[in-house]
Amino acid sequence: SSPLPLVLHTWPFKNATEAAWRTLASGGSALDAVEAGCAQCEREQCDGTVGFGGSPDESGETTLDAMIMDGTTMDVGAVGDLRRVKNAVGVARKVLEHTTHTLLVGESATKFAESMGFVNEDLSTDASRALHSDWLAQSCQPNCWRNVTPDPSKYCGPYKPPSILKQDGSAYKETGDNYGHD
């Protein structure tokens, strides 16, 4: 219902919209605009769910996922579980431009990023460290485990599947419904 060009994205991150629009206005491609908009959010840590210093994993580390896709060539670049590099969508763009791959993940994605000139730096902040220590203080609740012991809805790990425990004949017996979530 509206003429082109169009920038559309999730959540009210207005600066990201502006960054993408500015890129188009200055002659950038659609791909350039997507990269600029997402990178703006990475810098600004949009609502704590984008960029460094948010959503720590169980070990307290922030890791990043990003992708970028060119709808004209169907070229895609993506990184998953990217560690210690802030500009995830920038690395995804390098995967698109400098490899024939689509998705690079984890520590090796970090090595690739370093080879492309990205800085290796700690993605944790006081905020993400505080989130993690609060989580530990609340018996690691919520978490993403099920069908393990000890009861993940009550205790921190490390966790084991019940079958391993049974094999080593431990006295611990599974009792009742220990899923603890939907």
């Binding site: 509206s2 920038v7 559309l8 188009l24 169980e58 060119d70 169907m74």
Partner: protein, 141 residues
């Protein structure tokens, strides 16, 4: 998560995402955002879409790919997004998630899964009719 789609005035499309994922995830967990067809998808022949929400669930349905395929068959962006949400609802009625869709003429829409604490989804639009970025809302279904 930010999921973004851009339709250039020439009709070229692009899509992308960036996120730090789920809080307190098991180390090594990757969500839907970096997976083409899940976090985002774009095709000049049909349009582009992007998703946000519980990636562990949403990626199983390749929501952005599915939305583009609905638009390829002529659905409006809003209906395309709604049909994707409905598909996931059947299996996971309480999932947290939303999808944005745009076709190559610049029409756009969004849809989300209604939960007690999530009844509206907010997204941003900028096009040649809005002289500045505009926040829009959609009621979840």
């Amino acid at each position: 998560t930010i999921g973004m789609v851009v339709i250039h005035k020439t009709g070229h499309t692009a899509a992308g995402t960036s996120t730090n994922g789920l809080k307190f995830k098991i180390p090594g967990r990757v969500g839907d955002s970096p997976i083409p067809g899940a976090g985002a998808y774009a095709d000049d022949a049909a349009g582009a879409a992007a998703a946000t929400g519980d990636g562990d669930i949403m990626m199983r349905f390749l929501p952005s790919y599915q939305a583009v395929e609905y638009m390829r068959r002529g659905e409006s962006p809003t209906v395309a997004c709604q049909k994707v949400i409905s598909r996931i609802q059947k299996y996971f009625p309480k999932f947290f998630g939303a999808v944005i869709c745009a076709n190559v003429t610049g029409s756009y829409g969004a849809a989300c899964n209604k939960l007690p604490a999530f009844t509206q989804f907010r997204f941003m639009v900028s096009n040649s009719l809005t002289n500045q970025p505009k926040e829009e809302r959609v009621n979840c279904i």
